[in-house]
């Protein structure tokens, strides 16, 4: 299991780099799909089958299809690179290293004693019970929030309703 975790972890990181480094928007979107799918495999390795499949259905199968659709509709070709400012060129790399150093230090300090917990496989039934009993109110509120967002999008997009 552990080698698989490293393989898919590496794939996820490489693809995530691809998302920012690719110059064609469709390639960035494709890299993001690879990130989402390799994360789904990591969930699968942790025994969370339901979460893994939902990750693929919702993110890779629905949201990213819309992304790709919009990119295709706008017919976005290669990005034009802006003239990089001199400050960004000199300070960018050191600041990035400093940020990641700090981040790695914080993670190492906080989680170094922790062990990966293998919970018994949580099926859809357990997740459903938690979602609709303990967290029923936040769940319903989130759905209302999404509904509001949908209505807002319709109002913005349509001139007369």
């Amino acid at each position: 299991m552990l080698p698989l975790f490293y393989i898919f972890g590496a794939v996820a990181i490489l693809a995530a780099l691809g998302v920012i480094l690719q110059e064609t928007p469709v390639y960035s979107a494709l890299s993001l799909i690879v990130v989402l799918c390799s994360l789904a495999v990591v969930y699968l390795l942790l025994g969370a089958e339901f979460l893994a499949v939902i990750q693929v259905i919702v993110y890779a199968g629905a949201i990213m299809v819309l992304f790709v659709l919009v990119i295709m509709l706008l017919n976005a070709r290669r990005e034009t690179t802006s003239d990089r400012s001199r400050m960004a060129r000199w300070l960018g790399a050191p600041l990035l290293v400093a940020f990641f150093g700090q981040f790695a230090y914080a993670v190492w300090k906080h989680f170094s004693g922790w062990e990966a917990v293998h919970t018994p496989a949580t099926g859809p039934q357990k997740i459903g019970e938690v979602l609709f009993r303990s967290y029923a109110l936040p769940f319903e509120l989130t759905s209302i929030l999404i509904l509001v967002a949908i209505l807002g999008a319709v109002v913005l997009a349509k001139k007369e309703i």
Binding site: V53, A62, V65, G123
Partner: protein, 342 residues
């Protein structure tokens, strides 16, 4: 059987299952194409393929060889990487969903219990939906990367259509899941032992099958590849075996949809079982195959009978008819279940 050889034997069994299922699926696809040509020909008072082999039965083989030996033409301005990737995505995703489809119960050979299914996931149904939802990328990317307007139209239409009908498809299946109380395909079938779900969910079945025909881009919902207006749709710029891969993916998707319809609504492999043990183990597989055949036939029958929708009709039908009815169906099912439980 020694315990040390056990993992090896188990791995071999799984490998054998994968090979057998893939070979059967490929043969099934080849003959689905033959069946389609024959049935549509008869509907239109023609003969269909008759020359290669008896009743034209070797026609699929000849077609396959022809695809292999044709020159592959790649237009100059395509996006190379995505252009080559797209048919593989469509093909792989169409074939991956067969991994969780159960074909029958189990058979015991030399002390090993062999289940007629490659692997049993407790979220098998969701796995099939996830894989088919990824299949749309094959079509979308093919349309985009060809760098030509007709494939692009086909790709755009197909993604819009698949997103719209996926929701109704999912909701139609939710009603069945509510009744079964499980997402495992095996358990859903076992639970239909008394009464097939088609009698509990007739509306759900109609919704599922309508949405599924749209999902697989078949007539009357085959706008992504409408020959009369888009030349050939998303696969216009593909030739040789890459075109064949799209072709096979479409038929594999039809088989998957038929499998799911059989499992969710028509009791899967359930049917009268009799005779000696070997026959008892194999009969369920026969029932399952027969049901699949019926669905494939209905698919072809519908293609031969109904004209194509107009694009705006397709969209308004999906969102204004299919989706509300599917929602009401889920609501009614859960109300009945809650009333019975109390």
């Amino acid at each position: 059987m020694g315990t040390s050889s056990e993992p090896v034997v188990l791995t071999l069994i799984v490998l054998a299952k994968v090979v057998v299922v893939l070979v059967v699926l490929l043969t099934c696809i080849a003959y689905a194409v033959w069946l389609e040509r024959k049935v549509v020909a008869r509907i239109q008072s023609r003969w269909g393929p008759t020359l290669v082999g008896p009743f034209g039965l070797l026609q699929p083989l000849a077609d396959g060889l022809k695809f292999l030996f044709k020159e592959e033409i790649r237009p100059r301005e395509v996006d190379r990487f995505v252009y080559h990737l797209a048919p593989f995505v469509a093909f792989t995703m169409a074939f991956a969903s067969i991994a969780v489809i159960p074909f029958g119960e189990s058979i015991t050979i030399a002390g090993h219990k062999i289940v007629f299914q490659i692997t049993d996931l407790n979220v098998g149904l969701l796995f099939v939906l996830a894989v088919t939802s990824l299949g749309v990328y094959g079509i979308v990317l093919a349309g985009w990367s060809s760098n030509s307007k007709f494939p692009l139209f086909g790709g755009l239409r197909s993604s819009a259509q698949m997103i719209s009908y996926e929701i109704s498809l999912g909701l139609a299946l939710v009603a069945v899941v509510l009744i079964a109380g499980s997402l495992s395909l095996r358990e859903i079938v076992e639970q239909q032992r008394g009464l097939w779900n088609i009698f509990r969910q007739p509306l759900g079945f109609l919704l599922y099958f309508t949405a599924a025909i749209a999902e697989t881009n078949r007539t009357p919902f085959d706008l992504p590849e409408a020959e009369s207006e888009l030349v050939g749709g998303f696969h216009t710029e593909y030739s040789s075996f890459k075109f064949a891969m799209f072709f096979m993916a479409e038929y594999a998707n039809m088989v998957t949809v038929s499998c799911l319809a059989t499992l969710m609504f028509f009791g899967g492999w359930l049917g009268p079982v009799f005779g000696p043990p070997a026959l008892q183990a194999l009969l369920p597989v026969v029932w399952f195959s027969l049901k699949i055949f019926c669905f494939l036939f209905v698919y072809i029958w519908i293609r031969g009978t109904l004209p194509r929708f107009r694009y705006d009709q397709l969209m308004s039908f999906g969102w204004k008819v299919l989706l509300p009815v599917a929602l009401v169906n889920v609501l009614a099912t859960s109300l009945v279940l809650a009333w019975r439980a109390s």
